[in-house]
């Protein structure tokens, strides 16, 4: 599903954002990517949806080599990958319904598909009653759930979430994670970059620890404390 072979990414003349990273995420898997600020979490995620290309090495997603892909093929790849951001990235002048429908409209979906899929996605994230609300009237957790609805409305094979609980309180963070767990339970591969200790501990999923652009530890069914202690990495959560 997602394969990294000795991947290095460099921006300009500074130190590498990622260095010699090799890993594999299987279809239907749920994986956390943790690490301190600047460890390369976001770069790793951006490689998956081809927002960044590797300087060296090879990234394969859904069987396709990212570097060999022509620009015309990229939109078609991205239709199989749902992306959730920390700041939700909802369009402010559109309602929740319109924001979710927008993801289908921009790929040219028919009206019948939109009418069928948007209510389904809103129901999955528990926002059916907020369909006609504008983003500014929603709480942080609701905004993030709307963003997840937009990411899954197209039935993607992979959902990539970059710090989806970064601005949320613990209870709301847990709600958001439950939604992602539900999406994963239906067969979607989920990769989440986070430094939310509590969420990682409670989910008991695979945890990939990045430090200075390298994979410091990759543990199945792990928790935050365990990987931090065994890898010797000073994580952001440790500050609190």
């Amino acid at each position: 599903m997602i394969e990294f072979y000795d991947v290095t990414v460099m921006f300009g003349g500074g130190p590498p954002a990622l260095e010699s990273v090799s890993l594999r995420v299987a279809a239907g898997e749920f994986a956390f990517v943790v690490g301190p600020t600047g460890a390369g979490k976001s770069t790793l995620l951006r490689l998956i949806y081809r927002d960044v290309l590797p300087t060296r090495g090879c990234v394969r997603v859904l069987g396709r080599d990212m570097a060999q892909m022509s620009p015309r093929e990229v939109p078609h790849l991205r239709r199989h990958i749902g992306v959730v951001f920390q700041d939700a990235s909802l369009l402010p002048r559109k309602t929740v319904w319109e924001n979710v429908a927008f993801a289908l409209q921009v790929i040219g979906a028919s009206r019948a598909t939109i009418l069928r899929e948007v209510p389904r996605a809103l129901s999955v994230v528990g926002l059916s009653d907020k369909a006609y609300a504008y983003p500014e009237t929603l709480s942080g957790g609701e905004q993030q759930r709307a963003c997840i609805a937009r990411a899954i409305v197209n039935h993607p094979s992979i959902v990539v979430a970059d710090e989806p609980t970064g601005n949320l309180d613990p209870a709301t963070s847990w709600d958001v994670m439950q939604v992602l767990r539900h999406v994963n339970a239906h067969g979607t591969t989920v990769v989440v970059a986070t430094h939310d200790r509590e969420v990682v501990d409670r989910m008991r999923k695979r945890v990939i620890v990045l430090d200075k652009g390298r994979v410091a530890r990759d543990a199945e069914d792990s928790d935050y404390e365990g990987v931090a202690a065994s890898s010797g990495v000073f994580l952001e959560g440790d500050l609190h």
Partner: protein
């Protein structure tokens, strides 16, 4: 990308949402197109009129073809037929030496004593008009070879003709250069305005890219917005120029009635030019700006 009515509805809705949302930006874009196209249209009208004047001046040029003395009626008729058959010749008018002598006496009688001449010193001649001023020198050269023509004295006012032709060339060159320069300036302004609207919405465009929209799909509402600005600017420029030009023509016709002025034909061409230029500027400006922006969004 196949476009269905459903897509068209989405594109049009997005376009008009953009225009409404970027109200001041749209006003700025339409204003710049209006100013650019007013200058372009004014230059076009000036060029059409200057060309008309130069053309009319050229039409007044005739070839004076004197004939040898003592030609028989058959020789004269044969010479006339051969001249009429030359390419580009519009009309051949015979002027007898007696007729011309009388006209000369009438014109110069008070200044010159023509009685000093023992006999009429003039020749029978043809006044030849040619369709295009550019053909006059070549036609004159062919006429000189015709039997019965006094080839030494065939005259078409060479220096004046050359000045007229030079004036036409200058009008075309200066007008053409001005139209091209103003066109480029307008293109630049429209392109920059579209670029500002693109920059104002870059977050939305970025989101569309991440959601899997193709570049063509992202571009269509912006291109339609550019074309809308171009067409509205062109329509306003056309209205302003038509009203101003008609007022100017009325005033000039009253004060300088001898001045030839382009009327309906000039305005029809003006509208075609303005609408074509408006659409082209809107289209080219938005495509150039978007291509640059979308290229920047490619993965690093």
């Amino acid at each position: 990308m196949k476009v269905s009515p459903h897509h068209l509805e989405f594109f049009l809705r997005e376009t008009f949402i953009n225009i409404r949302r970027n109200g001041m930006m749209s006003v700025a874009a339409v204003s710049t197109v209006l100013i650019g196209l007013c200058l372009l249209g004014a230059m076009y009208l000036a060029t059409v009129n200057l060309n008309l004047w130069a053309g009319q001046l050229a039409q007044q040029v005739e070839i004076y073809v004197p004939l040898q003395d003592g030609l028989s009626a058959q020789d004269l008729q044969a010479a006339r037929q051969r001249i009429e058959q030359l390419p580009g010749v519009e009309s051949v008018q015979f002027v007898s030496r007696h007729q011309e002598w009388q006209e000369l006496q009438q014109q110069l009688g008070r200044q010159m004593d023509l009685a000093d001449f023992e006999s009429n010193p003039l020749s029978d001649s043809f006044d030849v008009r040619v369709a295009s001023p550019e053909q006059v020198p070549a036609t004159a050269a062919l006429i000189k070879q015709i039997h019965g023509v006094d080839k030494e004295h065939v005259d078409f006012g060479g220096p004046l003709m050359n000045k007229v032709l030079a004036l036409r060339r200058v009008v075309w060159l200066v007008g053409g250069a001005a139209v091209i320069l103003l066109g480029l300036a307008t293109l630049l302004i429209v392109g920059n305005t579209i670029r500002l609207t693109v920059l104002a919405r870059q977050r939305e465009i970025r989101l569309m890219q991440l959601l899997g929209a193709t570049d063509a799909f992202i571009c269509v509402p912006f291109v339609l917005e550019g074309v809308f600005h171009g067409v509205v600017g062109a329509a306003l420029a056309g209205a302003v120029l038509t009203a101003s030009y008609q007022a100017l023509v009325r005033w000039l016709s009253a004060s300088l009635p001898f001045l030839p002025l382009a009327h309906a034909e000039g305005l029809k061409g003006l509208w075609v030019l303005l609408l074509f230029a408006g659409v082209a500027f809107g289209l080219a400006g938005s495509v150039i700006s978007l291509r640059r922006f979308l290229a920047v969004c490619e993965p690093s």
